[in-house]
């Protein structure tokens, strides 16, 4: 197991260049040039919110689950996304999710189904009880590329336990927001909307599975599934459903959006598995974003120590 201890000389995530400053860097440079030396000498003046306010998550305890591999850049994580609700191009989400979610509406999450303590929670109330952690996970997309992302969040299990699932709760079904006004990609039937994903109960309760509300010390951006999303690091990326509005305990295996689109290619489990080919891509290797050469894909994306036992005795070629 990899245990990452923060060295005294390590730069905490909270000290990297602030996102808004970064995003507006060209404008910032222009302003600096026009304003002349005065502003250039004191670059923090006149930039709106102070840096601290945007760095929401600071001094979080490092997680034993974190990898010490080199993190993918913030720019890549926030501009190369599959989030078909905002378009099918990789850059579409970063272009069309800039105002998402609409700040004038309160984000609510409904937790229902086979449980004793269902309810509808406003975002703030939902996340308040939990201690945020930073977890640096590998993320492997079914298309053959991967990233290393410093997520901020808490274990899904803690949230699910509060809902008190009953004995009929065999699976957990997750649903993304359906709102074509905010999500222009939903105007076209590329997939069956709303996006639905699911986990078996034991997968959902696994300590690796988390609800993420931020990355790189900042709140999630629209393109990464704001305000809250699932992260299941041993499964292909599409299982980690974004912008969740409903969590439902069910007895039957949920039919996920990709299973409905193409059941032969996308199974319910979709565990990262270099030995099970996707009909269109070999899954043996992957290109880590930012790297030139490809690397070997690891079984369960390298998380076998934590999750392999969930599937003992199962034929993973059949249950792909």
């Amino acid at each position: 197991m990899l245990i990452r201890r923060r060295k005294p000389w390590d730069l905490p995530e909270s000290e990297v260049t602030d996102y808004k400053v970064y995003k507006n860097r060209r404008q910032f440079l222009n302003t600096s040039i026009t304003a002349g030396l005065a502003l250039a000498a004191a670059p923090s003046i006149g930039l709106g919110k102070p840096v601290d306010e945007l760095q929401v998550y600071k001094d979080l305890k490092p997680s034993p689950f974190s990898t010490d591999e080199e993190k993918t850049t913030f720019e890549a994580i926030t501009t190369y996304n599959n989030f078909y609700e905002f378009g099918t191009g990789k850059e579409d989400p970063s272009l069309y999710a800039t105002e998402f979610p609409d700040e004038s509406q309160i984000w609510k999450v409904e937790i229902d189904g086979e449980c004793d303590n269902p309810g509808v929670y406003e975002y703030d109330d939902l996340v308040k009880p939990f201690t945020m952690e930073e977890r640096i996970y590998r993320m492997r997309c079914v298309e053959g590329w991967s990233m290393v992302i410093p997520w901020i969040g808490f274990p899904l299990a803690e949230l699910l336990k509060r809902a008190k699932p009953n004995s009929k709760a065999k699976y957990v079904e997750f649903t993304t927001l359906y709102d074509p006004e905010q999500m222009p990609g939903q105007n076209r039937d590329v997939l069956e909307w709303p996006y639905v994903e699911g986990l078996r109960m034991d997968e959902a309760m696994n300590p690796l599975t988390m609800i993420s509300v931020g990355l790189y010390g900042k709140e999630l951006l629209g393109q990464n599934g704001a305000p809250l999303r699932l992260v299941v690091p041993w499964k292909y990326g599409f299982k980690s459903i974004k912008s969740v509005v409903r969590i439902r305990f069910v007895e039957e295996m949920p039919q996920t959006a990709w299973m409905k689109a193409n059941a032969n290619e996308y199974g319910f489990y979709s565990n990262v598995n270099p030995n099970v080919n996707h009909p269109r891509w070999s899954q043996r290797r992957e290109r880590r974003i930012g790297e030139f050469l490809k690397r070997d894909t690891l079984m369960f994306n390298g998380y076998g120590d934590y999750v392999a036992e969930l599937y003992s005795g199962m034929d993973l070629k059949r249950y792909f």
Binding site: A261, N277, P279, R280, L293, K294
Partner: protein
């Protein structure tokens, strides 16, 4: 009205574009150089974008995809030449067809080399597995092979050697290659098939025009 316009364009171009007339407005050789440079533009912007980091987070994927797209686009542009000739009567257009076709092959080759080199790193075993196991790679590979006889018979010498009729017959293979390229594109898409469908519609139009022309010629000769 349209016919008068077309015939006047025709008259103008046949005077304006000329091989040897010193007094003509534009010389064919100059125009060919211009078209050649325009055809190189996609290569230029891909290379420039790649080395100046403007192709997003996954530049290798971007150049692989774009080179393939330009291969397909040049195939369709090449297939536009003949219908445009019928439409405008500017027979000089045919002089650009070989160059456009060879550019389709050029971009298809870049596409293929990027796949072989930067996707598979010339691991021939993996490449072989890909060709036999993944239908869209199979189609792409067959497609590339099918382009080769077209390229090898593209010189004036080969046209003469084959004879115009046989050469023409062989080059009908272009229709197959264009259709297979569209299918190759369609097959690699996960869910949003809009873009390949646009190319399929364009190709259907280009082939449809040929069918109509063929039927009309038949009717005319029957009369």
């Amino acid at each position: 009205m349209v016919t008068t316009l077309l015939s006047s364009i025709q008259a103008w171009t046949s005077n304006a574009i000329s091989n040897d007339n010193k007094g003509s407005f534009i010389r064919l050789s100059h125009l060919k150089v211009l078209v050649f440079l325009i055809c190189l533009y996609p290569l230029f912007y891909m290379t420039w974008g790649f080395f100046t980091h403007q192709l997003g987070a996954n530049p290798i994927e971007a150049v692989t995809r774009d080179s393939g797209l330009w291969g397909l686009r040049f195939l369709l542009i090449t297939l536009c030449v003949t219908p445009l000739r019928w439409l405008t009567g500017i027979n000089q257009l045919v002089r650009f067809r070989r160059m456009l076709g060879l550019f389709a092959f050029f971009y298809a080759t870049v596409h293929m080399l990027l796949y072989l080199g930067l996707d598979q790193f010339f691991n021939w075993y993996e490449i072989w597995l890909d060709i036999i196991k993944r239908p869209f790679i199979t189609v792409g590979f067959i497609n590339f092979i099918a382009l080769l006889p077209l390229v090898f018979t593209s010189t004036n010498k080969m046209v003469k050697r084959l004879g115009g009729r046989r050469w023409k017959k062989l080059h009908k293979l272009t229709y197959f290659v264009a259709a297979a390229a569209c299918i190759h594109f369609l097959m690699l898409i996960k869910a949003d098939i809009r873009e390949p469908v646009i190319y399929i519609i364009i190709l259907t139009g280009l082939l449809g025009v040929r069918l109509l022309h063929h039927l009309r010629q038949k009717k005319l000769s029957a009369q």
